[in-house]
Amino acid sequence: MELISCLQPNLWASLADEVPAWVNEKRNKTSVERTLRWLDACIALDAASGRNSLGVVVGGSSIEQRKLCATEVSKRNVSGFWIGGFGLGESVEERCSLLNAVTDCLPLEKPRIVSRLGLPEEVLEGVASGIDLFDSTYIYQLTMGGFALIFPIDMVEREMQNGVFDSSAGDSAKINLRATTYRKDMSRIVDGCTCFTCQNHTRAYLNHLINVHEMLAQILLEIHNTHHYLRFFRSIREAIKAGEFDIFWKQFVENRRSQIAAAAM
């Protein structure tokens, strides 16, 4: 809490004992009890008594523990919830039911954050379960690997892209600009993208920069990937507002499936 008071963040998450989904029952129970004790301790030490705090919800892969923890954290004077223990290797099916179990027990009017869920599909699942904020190293990992995001953002783009893709260097979500296929590719990463990188540079130039290990490669890629990813989130918001989130989600997943199927053939 001393660190927190020095840094003066707008929001802070309480110290928690996050465990992955496969720990045994006893360990899991301990993590819940400990996390709640630490939450209370943090709030007690906080000058603002928790006004800017995010209570951490743990509970591993036990629906019961998850519900218990979520209910207990809700009783504290927190301004939001940090849902921990996901993105550590649990299965997709498990995650959905656990997330729903948690959000069912949380008040509607306070924000929910989940960490380490970064893939577009994971984001959509999280949104469907009632998550508001996502943080992950997804963009960073892509950039460091030389990947650029290209998946179509909105429903119109997806219809246009359907079935037409050269998957020799990546998949329909991203391309690896390190690949030789891009050496002379004078097109933009994404046609029509309004980010600085796509407005000013070509795939060929990025291919060169990556291959000669120049810092500018990561700078330009990070700009594009961040821009593209944030546009994805904007599309999600618009779909929700228009009452079309379910269609949006379904179409996204189906589009991905048909791309992967086409590539496999």
């Binding site: 050496r183 600085f196 130039y205 810092m215 500018l216």
Partner: protein, 417 residues
């Protein structure tokens, strides 16, 4: 034919000029940052424009290696490839090879070296160097010269100078785009004034678009350095640009400009940035020092650049030891510093206040008045009086006092303590 130099103002040998190139009209004196592999470490072309860079250097050796000059040509030239709208200059590739490659050697044919890819023996001829540079498409291209370190003595220097003259003719003959790319010759001859003179006259006979003074900035003593520059600028034509290669430190640029040079290039500002050093009027600020950890001032309170407007020394101190963004921000500031120096040189000459600018510059760099002797000597030849920037030991007071003569009424307070 889009190339000319127009001198707009002078002070003795110093010139403020307009240099018109195919892609950009520049103001000289100017400093050219080095963008070795088609990029300047971590900076976007947008930022380089904002900083005020006018010409960037690309290294022919590196670009031919990756991505290859033929590919660059296929894709429309280096300007288009890296999206740089202003001017570009490429070097010949020779110097880099000799300094970077194992077993590089120079013969009459060209520079022989081991391919860094598979170790096979390869040869860079004047023709091939020009061909590669034609592919890359820079506004200014450099002749392949036989460059020797100034620390070497003996017949090798004379051999290199004459070979440079023979090679310039081969370069001229091989040049396929003289209407859009300007070939500069490079004056060699070591520290020998006789050899330098022969080389200058030989190159001037070829009536080239511009001339570089090469073979310096390699460890020779400063007194020899400025003398070679002074001799060359005196012998080179007035209406052509003079480019001192590999320079460098702000002090060197000010001195060379006073002696009549127009263009400079050096990795120093960007390289020193990567070691955590920022260029400031007083000299160098080392951001890694412990004292910087709590220093909330910008690098330079008088600097208008984005870095000085937004970041503190304390923050930069954290970055430079840990994160590539540290060197990116310092490079940005250092190049801003060099661009401002270029602009100050141009404007002060143009506006008839060049000596005042030089004195102000020296006063800030040498607040104790300990201006090096070589600068004194050079400024004397340049016709700029810098005595008021110098330590009291340079004034006659001490000598007179020892002789028992009171001359205090003649000394202004600023000159003597």
């Amino acid at each position: 034919f889009v190339f000319c130099l127009q001198v707009l103002g002078r002070f003795n040998r110093a010139r403020a000029a307009r240099l018109t190139l195919p892609h950009f009209t520049c103001q000289t004196p100017l400093f050219m940052p080095v963008g070795t592999q088609g990029t300047i470490k971590g900076l976007t072309t947008d930022q380089l424009e904002t900083i005020g860079c006018q010409i960037i250097l690309g290294n022919t050796y590196h670009l031919e290696l990756r991505p290859g000059s033929q590919l660059i040509d296929d894709l429309g030239g280096l300007h288009k490839f890296m999206n740089w709208k202003r001017a570009l200059l490429t070097d010949s590739g020779g110097f880099q090879m000799v300094s970077l490659l194992h077993l590089a050697d120079i013969t009459e044919e060209g520079v022989t070296f081991q391919s860094p890819v598979d170790g096979k023996p390869m040869l860079l001829t004047p023709e091939e160097s020009i061909n590669i540079q034609n592919n890359i498409g820079a506004d200014i291209i450099m002749a392949l010269d036989d460059v020797v370190k100034t620390t070497i003595t003996g017949p090798r220097i004379e051999e290199a100078m004459y070979r440079t003259l023979r090679w310039i003719d081969r370069c001229i003959a091989a040049h396929k785009k003289p209407d859009v790319q300007n070939l500069f010759g490079i004056v060699q001859g070591g520290l020998d004034p006789v050899l330098r003179d022969i080389c200058v006259r030989g190159l001037v006979e070829r009536n080239l678009p511009g001339y570089a003074i090469g073979g310096l900035a390699g460890g020779e003593d400063k007194d020899s350095f400025w003398r070679v520059v002074a001799q060359c600028t005196a012998g080179l034509p007035e209406d052509k640009p003079r480019y001192v290669m590999g320079v460098g430190y702000p002090l060197d640029i000010v001195v060379c400009s006073a002696l009549g040079a127009d263009m400079y290039d050096c990795v120093y500002p960007t390289r020193t940035a990567r070691f955590g050093s920022a260029l400031v009027p007083e000299g160098v600020l080392k951001l890694k020092q412990n004292a910087m950890a709590t220093d909330e001032r910008p690098i330079d309170p008088s600097c208008p650049c984005m870095v000085c407007k937004n970041y503190t020394r304390a923050y930069l101190h954290c970055l430079v030891t840990k994160d590539p963004m540290g060197s990116q921000l310092l490079s940005y500031h250092n190049l801003s510093f060099m661009a401002r120096l270029s602009r100050d040189l141009h404007m002060s000459i143009l506006e008839g206040r060049f000596p005042e600018f030089v004195r102000g510059f020296l006063r800030v760099q040498f607040p104790k008045g300990d201006v090096p002797k070589w600068v004194h000597n050079a400024m004397e030849v340049a016709g700029i009086d810098i005595s008021e920037c110098c330590t009291p030991t340079n004034c006659q007071h001490d000598a007179m006092e020892a002789a028992g003569v009171d001359i205090s009424e003649f000394c202004p307070p600023t000159r003597c303590p």
